[in-house]
């Protein structure tokens, strides 16, 4: 696998690869986001008890599940960079942190807005919500560490250590609703064979999850390209790119 990957481990090649992939991700995610939003907001039926405001689920669930996936992806990238000394993995990890933080914030905010009418409170200090808040702080800590060090490689290694320490939190978030009696409900689509949701609601939800995933992919590519540029500022190929912009 290593040999096959090797050419892509060169910054310039991976920058080009990211550039060719980006439009596909960008276009498909925009299309699916529009479809998903319209489907979820206007076409999906109302829920039996929660009426119309259950529609928040179409953004709450994608941001929440994917913010955890982004964290795991970030931790994987850190691990790869530590084991194989692959600098590009550092760039990928650095690119993902702000995206994960934004999604976590979105999930918390939409959750609070949703909790107000349905539970009767925007916030309770139970296991799920608290551990999820810690996830947001972890993301912010990682971002802060990335910015604290002048040297990018150093910053990545420092942030990487915090990322790996924080992985402990992920299973706690995931299983908190099963381990403790929390106010938060258990997962809706944990069992694919028999999801606890009518199919007219499930399909738009799955569409939205896919749309968010593609959007995260596109954002990661954009930020990854930036990180590669910043980390290879002395390379001739970056200098050439910069010269073109400078001329304009």
């Amino acid at each position: 696998m290593w040999k096959w990957l090797h050419p892509y481990a060169k910054p310039e090649r991976s920058y080009q690869l990211a550039s060719t992939l980006l439009p596909w991700f960008a276009i498909s995610s925009i299309v699916l986001l529009v479809i998903g939003a319209v489907w979820g907001l206007a076409f999906a039926p109302a829920e039996l008890y929660q009426k119309e405001y259950y529609r928040i689920i179409y953004i709450h669930v994608p941001s929440a599940t994917l913010s955890m996936s982004v964290y795991m992806a970030m931790a994987t990238a850190v691990l790869i960079s530590m084991v194989w000394q692959l600098k590009l993995a550092d760039a990928a990890a650095a690119a993902m942190a702000p995206i994960g933080a934004t999604l976590t914030a979105t999930a918390l905010i939409t959750g609070a807005i949703w909790g107000a009418p349905s539970w009767g409170t925007s916030w309770v200090w139970d296991a799920r919500l608290t551990s999820y808040l810690i996830l947001l702080f972890l993301y912010l800590g990682v971002i802060a560490l990335h910015n604290a060090f002048e040297d990018k490689a150093l910053a990545s290694r420092a942030a990487g250590i915090l990322t790996l320490v924080g992985v402990v939190n992920i299973p706690i978030i995931k299983y908190s609703v099963e381990w403790w009696n929390t106010l938060h409900q258990t997962a809706t689509i944990s069992k694919l064979s028999a999801p606890s949701m009518s199919s007219e609601m499930l399909w738009p939800l799955l569409t939205n999850i896919l749309a968010f995933a593609l959007m995260i992919g596109a954002l990661t590519l954009i930020r990854f390209k930036n990180e590669v540029l910043a980390r290879n500022a002395m390379r001739p190929w970056v200098r050439e790119l910069a010269a073109k912009v400078g001329d304009k």
């Binding site: 040297d151 490689a153 500022a233 002395m234």
Partner: protein, 208 residues
């Protein structure tokens, strides 16, 4: 015979400035190498790279033909590094400082009075380092060289704040060390006798 320590195509970048690019050299037993260059040329950075305290942007440092990141324990067994900062605690006495740093380095702590005597600190053994002068603090740090069992010495400005007699003693120690199959990499701003006689020089400014 294989080299003791080898710098293999080291590239060092600090704050987006290239200090040196693809620098390679070997340190063999019996070598005395002086690193030269103006302030900010990267002398300290190079020494820290060689000691494995910082990682190069590219390239690697090898101890007995093995990357030092893969054989830290063996390498550090064989390395004595004295940096800019002496690593001497003001709250401890001279002798406590010395015996602690020796035991960290797994060096001999038996004949410790001898080392204290060699650096002319006899009578100050039980004084707190904070009560001693800068030069004396430096001597506490250097005292461990007399007890050192390691082959490779990496010394950043070892002669700073040391008086003439001290410099002469230290130079003699350097010569003894390389004569016994050791190797020394050091930086210095002072004009030294041994440097003229037996040292190889690496000038960082010539490389760019």
């Amino acid at each position: 015979m294989s080299s003791l320590l080898r710098a293999h195509q080291l590239t060092c970048i600090r704050e987006d400035r290239v200090l040196f690019d693809e620098l390679s050299f070997t340190v063999n037993a019996g070598d005395l190498i002086q690193i030269e260059g103006a302030n900010g040329a990267g002398k300290t950075s190079l020494l820290r790279l060689l000691a494995g305290l910082s990682l190069p942007y590219e390239g690697e440092v090898r101890y007995q033909e093995q990357a030092i990141t893969k054989c830290r324990e063996d390498f550090y067994q064989d390395l004595t590094f004295i940096g800019h900062l002496a690593g001497v605690k003001g709250e401890l006495t001279a002798i406590e400082n010395l015996s602690f740093s020796l035991s960290l380095q797994q060096d001999n702590t038996d004949n410790i009075d001898n080392a204290i005597e060699r650096v002319s600190l006899s009578g100050f053994e039980d004084s707190y380092a904070s009560h001693l002068s800068a030069g004396q603090n430096r001597r506490i740090a250097l005292a461990r060289l007399w007890q050192s069992t390691s082959k490779i010495w990496i010394l950043d400005e070892p002669f700073t704040a040391i008086d003439k007699a001290g410099v002469a003693q230290l130079e003699q120690l350097f010569l003894d060390h390389i004569a016994h199959g050791g190797a020394i990499v050091f930086t210095s701003h002072q004009e030294l006798q041994i440097a003229n006689q037996s040292a190889q020089r690496i000038n960082l400014e010539d490389l760019i």
